[in-house]
Amino acid sequence: MESTNNLEKFQTIIDADTKIEPKDWMPEDYRKHLIRQISQHAHSEVIGMQPEGNWITRAPSLRAKLILLAKIQDEAGHGLYLYSACETLGISREELIDQLHTGKAKYSSIFNYAAITWADIGAIGWLVDGAAIVNQISLQRTSYGPYSRAMIRICKEESFHQRQGYEIMGKLALGTPEQKEMAQDALNRWWWPSLMMFGPHDSDSPHSGKAMTWRIKRESNDVLRQRFIDKTVQQAEVIGLKIPDDKLKWNEAKGVYEHGEINWEEFNQVINGNGPLNKIRLANHISAHENGAWVREAANAYAAKQKKEVLVA
């Protein structure tokens, strides 16, 4: 029961920065918010394998192929860590997958864009993983224990992701004029969607209120976005690429970069299913899941047979 007493005690634990664990009492809205956020995060890791998986067979060298495979395998792992964390809140893996397939649960809309050139693989690692890292570092301090532990594990694995992407971009930028152009084109296409990854401005963010009070989120969308911009502009300069924002300028007094307006109309379009690849991404996941049904059946049958043998022996 959500007595004021329970709520007060809960908030005291949160305010003391003690983690909430699965069996602890928690408000229903806290549980719901976490399930929504963690499952969305897990689905993003898994769907995020698709744009990169698209390049495994076409990676330009064996080195690049090995790196890409390792990175994608990490992303699968991130999805699994997060599904497990989410399951501690009393929802099953099957339900989570079901919610993805029916569209009840979302995933980050960045993965609805296509990776059309090799430079896109660089841009994804550098910018998309880069933005994810800023968010995930902040979430290491989230109030829910299993989510926090998953974030700490994920952050340890992420820095290679960003560096391998930046390395690809740097190499292309120093290559032939065509290669440099390819890198610049990828930056042009991925920059704004990467900024959108942090979500709406604080002034119109629908889920943020309680998430901050309950310390599920520790910093606001705009604060995290600004941190990402401030880090990334310098990195672009070093490799001689130009951030596609005419309004981008250093604000000496504030010590931050000012940036141009984000196209929220595009953001809403992609979130609502009208991005370039929404339908294909989901269809791929559904067919992989359905085509794997016989594997799950076989594994269950094998487990049942083993149990019988134990009983007989």
Partner: protein, 97 residues
């Protein structure tokens, strides 16, 4: 939690990071049998030499204390100071004790 799930049962994974130290909880995996659980745990939690040994335990087999009992179970026993070495008065000059 006994929600319907076609994804295999849940196993808790414990990893020993280096020889000689205790196994520590790393997370969980789904698997339909113990070999699969061990293999999945290997693939998921030790891709970067995180461990030298893995235990997997069916989550359902773990008996855990309830949060509401923690006051009683983990009372600091401040009324039993004689459980700590500082309770005892040592004679002046005694060494190595």
């Amino acid at each position: 939690m006994s929600t319907k799930d076609s994804q295999g049962q849940l196993w808790e994974v414990f990893i020993q990071a280096n020889p000689g130290i205790p196994h520590k909880h790393a997370g969980s995996v789904h698997a339909t049998d113990k070999e699969m659980a061990l293999q999945n745990a290997r693939d998921l939690y030790t891709r970067r030499s995180e461990g030298t040994s893995i235990w997997v335990v069916p989550s359902a087999a773990i008996v855990a204390s309830a949060p509401e009992d923690s006051g009683m179970l983990f009372d600091p026993s401040n009324d039993k100071p004689y459980r700590h070495p500082t309770f005892y008065v040592m004679p002046e000059g005694a060494k190595n004790i």
